[in-house]
């Protein structure tokens, strides 16, 4: 019996050694081809341990006035409503996670998606012992409903608009860097007072004491578009809990 156990342990050790050597074979490479309105924007390889930095495409003439919102696996994205287009988490970065559910035979084509963006609101998805934005999908969902109701009362038809309410996670620096890279955010909610100093954000207006969630944080508007000013004013009027200004 003792010999069998020793033999079993030896076999186990050999298997583990062999497995360690085979780790690379568990990685499944995916060939990603980028397509922007029929034009090839490069071919990249990603796998579970390798991502790809990809270029941001120039907006084709056909989509002039629209904004590049990301890469999508949906070939028929032009036929979909803007809110139905599923795009990658990053515009200039393709992860294995972005493509793994759509891969066929080890390759996939991603298409640059362009929509007319009416408004982009960024919310800070950060919940650590040191920093808690107080925002989550649930309270941002309620926020969205309230905002739609307000816009409707102002004569807008939000159901036909592309209003992107998206989360940003990570440290203040990293999340703000991403916002800068995305270059399409109009309003930020949930960050602290250091979104300028640490985050490097240049904002038009900033106000604290805004409690969309459970915690009083800051909100900032990043441009002077009419819709931006309208919604930002509404946020201040609706969610201010204490008079804390920048």
């Amino acid at each position: 019996m003792k010999k069998y156990v020793i033999a079993a342990l030896l076999v186990l050790a050999m298997c583990m050694t062999a497995l360690a050597g085979c780790m690379r074979f568990l990685e499944k490479d995916v060939q990603v081809t980028l397509d922007s309105d029929g034009e090839n924007w490069g071919c990249y390889t990603v796998n579970s341990f390798n991502n790809a930095i990809v270029p941001r495409p120039d907006v084709p003439e056909k989509f002039a006035g629209m904004t590049f919102i990301g890469w999508t696996a949906q070939e028929n994205w032009e036929e979909l409503e803007p809110n139905q287009i599923k795009v990658s988490a990053n515009k200039e970065f393709i992860r294995y996670d972005d493509v793994k559910d759509y891969v066929k035979s080890g390759s996939i084509t991603l298409y640059a998606a362009y929509v007319k963006v009416d408004l982009v609101i960024a919310w800070y998805d950060r919940h650590t012992s040191g920093t808690d934005s107080g925002l989550n999908e649930e309270n941002m969902g309620a926020f969205k409903d309230n905002m739609y109701t307000y816009l409707a009362s102002e004569g807008y038809t939000p159901e036909n608009m592309y209003i992107d309410i998206r989360s940003y996670s990570g440290t203040v620096g990293a999340s703000c860097e991403k916002i800068i890279n995305d270059a399409d955010v109009d309003i930020m909610v949930g960050w602290g007072n250091n979104l300028n100093s640490t985050g490097g954000i240049a904002c038009v207006e900033k106000q604290g004491g805004i409690a969309i969630g459970s915690v009083s944080r800051y909100a900032a508007s990043l441009n002077e578009k009419e819709l931006t000013k309208l919604v930002f004013t509404w946020i201040k009027d609706t969610y201010t809990v204490n008079d804390v200004n920048a």
Binding site: V5, S48, T128, T171, A174
Partner: protein, 825 residues
Amino acid sequence: MYLKSKLLKAASICMYVFTALWFLFAACFFALGNYWYIGFALFALISLYDGFVITSVREKMTGVTLEKKEWIKLLVCWILSIVCPPAFVLNGIAFFRDKEDEPQEVTVKPAEEKKCEKPNGKKRFYKAKSFITMCVAFGMIFIASFFAMCFETSGFKVKVTDFTLTGEMTKYYNEGKIDGKAYVLDDDDVSYSVTMYVPDTATEANPAATVFVFPGFTRTKATMAQYAMELSRRGAVVFTMDPTGQGGTTINSYASDEQNRGQNGIEHLVQYVYNNTDDFKFCDKNRFGAMGHSQGGGNVAALAADFAGDSFYDSVIKSVYISGYIKYSSINNYQNFKCNAGLAYGYYDEGAYRYQTDAESFEVAAQRFINENGDESDFIPYSEIEIDKGYGDMANGTYRVVHREDINHCFEMYDPVSIKNTINFFNETLDISDMGGGSQLWFGKEFFNGIALAAAFTFIIAACAVLMGTPVFKSLKEKPVEKISDDEIREITEEEAEEELLGRTVNATADAGMETVAKGTHKSLAEGIVSEHKTVAHKVIFWSCIILTAIIACLDYIPLANLSIEIFPTSNVASVYTYTFPARMINAILLWALINGAIGLVIFFGTTLIENLYEYIRFKVKGIEPAYDWDKFKAIKISGNGWKGTLLNVGKAIFLPLVMFGAFYFLVQLNYWMFHQDFRFTLISASPLNARMFVTALEYWPIIFVFYISNSIRVNCSIGREGWKEWKVILVSALANSVGLIFILIINYFCYFTTGSPYYTYWGNGNEVWLYINMVFALVVMMFILPIFNRLLYRITGNVWSGAIVCCMIFIMMTISASVSYIPM
């Protein structure tokens, strides 16, 4: 019938193997969030229990033709064994076999003869095995440490010394401000523990390149000794230091001011060495380099940026190597370097899941690292980066290289390729040596330190045996003197048999090939009869308890780690210094040990109660004589002659481990004084005591002890009473105690290698828990060793307490010394 029995035996073994395989499958599917894991877990249990029943059928066979009851059992088992295809085939063949075999010669294997010492042993104490073992182990410690010292000093060509960097020292040399900043320690109570490696070739006339090597979070400077060794043997002066709150560094608060923190102390050290022209004339101030891993990598990146000056010529740090750290704040420092720089990030670094955006990822960090090189000429940024390729010009401090070794985060500093890349980088950028980085000898030190560690543990166990032979402690194992009844005589017989290696006795009857196992737990030990209900039902309870405790230990580790972050003052917010459980990472182990230890005790006492209750009910209902097993509790009790004797023995049972703990750490300290070596092997180490870590341990010992006594009771009062050979008791105990943690690693890394993200990433309120998995590597080894120690020490001392106490004290002291403590001392 002979072949039939063999077939059934083979089938049962296959089923046990498949039990392990099905549990492995269950873990893998659990890791992927697939609910099929429940099915695989059920298969595993069916396979296990089926194997028990098949074994029971085989043991009761008296011929090829089975009794009706047994035949039905075998039929059902055969059907259920579909979960194990090889067993299904074997059981099927056995089921239909109805031919008698040719008569076999019956060979009677005599019971193993007990090797015993002469009664009333006249053997001299120095001839006793334990004394010889103790002396040999003692010698091994020092011989191994001597060889380790030879490796560390590169054959005595490098002088290795320790010193303490104090506030007073930094203030004395702050006149030579660096970029207008002083980098002094304001608080005179703060001190940093530093080790300096000075090769013979480094002199005032021939100053050498100087490299500062900085460990990461929870690590001590000793864990970076391999870099220090390899660089110093090539001619560089090396400084390693314990960061704030770690190792021998003392600090009573965490200054919020960046300058006072000095990047966990490294800036204070560099400033001190740079400005101290009295003591460090052998350091070439024009060839300073710095290297750090993980948090240490972030610290040296900030160091290089803070000490950059206006140009490569002005920069204090001429070369910086950042390992395992790509946080956004560090990436932003790249543009501020005025020095040559290397970046390494393990291909399998578990922490990479946090960096998966176009602002913060390895790919982005690598690209920015190469491109933001301070080159103010017509530099065209690279759009694609090649790993391992050098970019830029060393002569003007714009050299950049990125490495990505096939290693994970916590083992990167033990990876030969990682070390080679680091050495080659400094060789080239600081012009240290032509000796390539591939020529490495650090593993010699690691090997001999490991031998010393093993020898130290052996010494402690042997010393315990020697002490137990002395008049002071002898009474601990002696039975109380009182009138002995017939029952007690039988008990003594069982105890003696239990202490021997029980062999198997083969019944020399017509049932050739059958064996019966003498169970030490049963009153009918001498007769060697095993009753059915004890065999199958007992096995089911026994192994189910082991599986249950392993599953609980596996699944509750990370939730409890997360809970520790939430409930203790020192959590992910490192700036809280407190006397209340200040060892941030050990708090997870504290909760885990307490909860699982308590569960172990409940299960042990609970199952014993239930088993004896069952015996009572059988007696009442069927009139069958009950076979109570209260003997399990005997080893828990410390007895003595009267209450005074008992009290004295309790005191001895506590005093003995204290002596052993003292002896162990005296050896550690003596070894360090003589050879500058502690006892270690990679992530497991026993380093010299310091006040802050000792005081920290005082808080943790009483609570974590619950786990240790629980394990000692399980090993000696449950597993140890199964009537197995001693090696099997030890093996099963070791596996039972560590398999839960092993499955944590299986779940985490199966998910990691399949999806690219570890299973344990964020938990609860977005708390990062991946570092707690890194801790499991060392924990698995210690949990494997613990039952072995508990068993050996029980056999020596005759009680479950002494072994548990000494193991708790030594293992927890080792763990805390190798971690971080925010105690304000």
